[in-house]
Symmetry: C2
Subunit: 226 residues, 2 copies
């Protein structure tokens, strides 16, 4: 399974890339510019060298999208559609894990406020934009703080909510994500539920700011998910 992180040189994408490389997946880190991807990955490989001999590869987003079997989109909302345009011709039939969250920062607002988008979630925007490409969009990673992802090798005391319309894609996503220590994946349903996942992110960011943390997350209680 070759995983491509689209917009992977930001802190979220790079954190996911490192975690998955340590979990022994083959990972391509994509960036708008290949040279940036190569440069960032060289340092990132050095960062994780004490935990794995696995090496990530840096490429342009287009090449990452073409070469990888499964894509993870980790860009801010304002770059989401622009990025999808550049990779659209390479995504046919693939699974896309979308970590995009509609934060008000996209329009100069507050990082702890939600922006209402149309359709009702960032993940549905991806699905709509790629409607003719037979992609399977799964909302994922939206509620996991970048600081947790970067805090290698510490386990992550959080649940990772996912949703999507294709059951098999969600199973594949779960298997991948749960290779990251202590993350538990909870499937909340169809992609139309993505706004419920995305709206938790500004809550957690707001709590991090208010209570001077970087690691706000949550565990669901009272439900047996086995």
């Amino acid at each position: 399974m070759l995983i491509g992180i689209i917009g992977g040189t930001g802190s979220q994408g790079l954190g996911i890339a490192k975690r998955l490389a340590i979990a022994d997946f083959d990972v391509i880190v994509g960036s708008r510019k290949e040279e940036k991807a190569v440069r960032v990955v060289e340092e990132a490989n050095s960062d994780i060298s004490e935990y794995t001999s696995n090496k990530m590869v840096g490429k342009a987003n287009e090449d990452a999208a073409r070469d990888a079997d499964l894509l993870i989109l980790t860009v801010p909302l304002e770059a989401q559609i622009a990025t999808l345009k550049t990779i659209k011709e390479f995504v046919k039939g693939k699974i896309i894990l979308d970590a995009t969250v509609p934060l008000e920062t996209a329009i100069g607002g507050n990082v702890s406020n939600l922006l209402h988008v149309n359709p009702g979630s960032a993940a549905e925007r991806t699905a709509k934009f790629l409607a003719n490409e037979d992609v399977k969009v799964v909302s994922a990673f939206c509620n996991i703080s970048n600081f947790h992802l970067a805090n290698i090798p510490e386990p992550i005391d959080c649940d990772c909510l996912i949703c999507g319309d294709d059951a098999e894609s969600k199973e594949i996503a779960s298997e991948i994500i749960e290779k990251i220590p202590d993350l538990r994946v909870v499937d909340i349903g169809k992609l139309e539920k993505a706004h419920l996942i995305e709206s938790i992110t500004p809550l957690l960011i707001g709590l991090n700011i208010k209570y001077k943390s970087h690691y706000g997350g949550f565990r669901l209680t009272g439900i047996d998910f086995e």
Copy 2:
């Protein structure tokens, strides 16, 4: 501290009423019709008699609002404004804990879907409607399942998010709510954040349905709230 539960004969209101009575608060259970309140409270007092000698009192909502020092509003969205109209003249200067959640059921939709309201949350609707009454609105109890509340004397393994514009009211609310075993109150900020609390409820209801539970809740992780 005399607490009035407005719309208190439903399962949420009655669960809160019983929990607070057991915690030794004086509780009035309000209903549209006094006779219903009296009847329901008689049975409810019998239910909790093995845990407390404290007796709740049943009254019409108007009388509950007039007599109580602090009010808890536990009605469905479609009854929210209609109920506030009936008690408006009795709420001057009081704290109102609003447990209303904008579920799509208010317009014949799905209980696990959120309804977008104007202003952006049910709690802000209360604040707006009572803007001239000097009330202090605190969003509270939105994420605590009725089944947990009714499951006396079991502790409740959940965090109870609250928000509001008046700091002192939130402290009073916290002290009251945390008398219920294991509930931890987390203040997420101003009342404008209430939509972030309310949007978690349809997520939890959806998970309860999907995974055949009644007790879905959550605990925040990674933040030291002390």
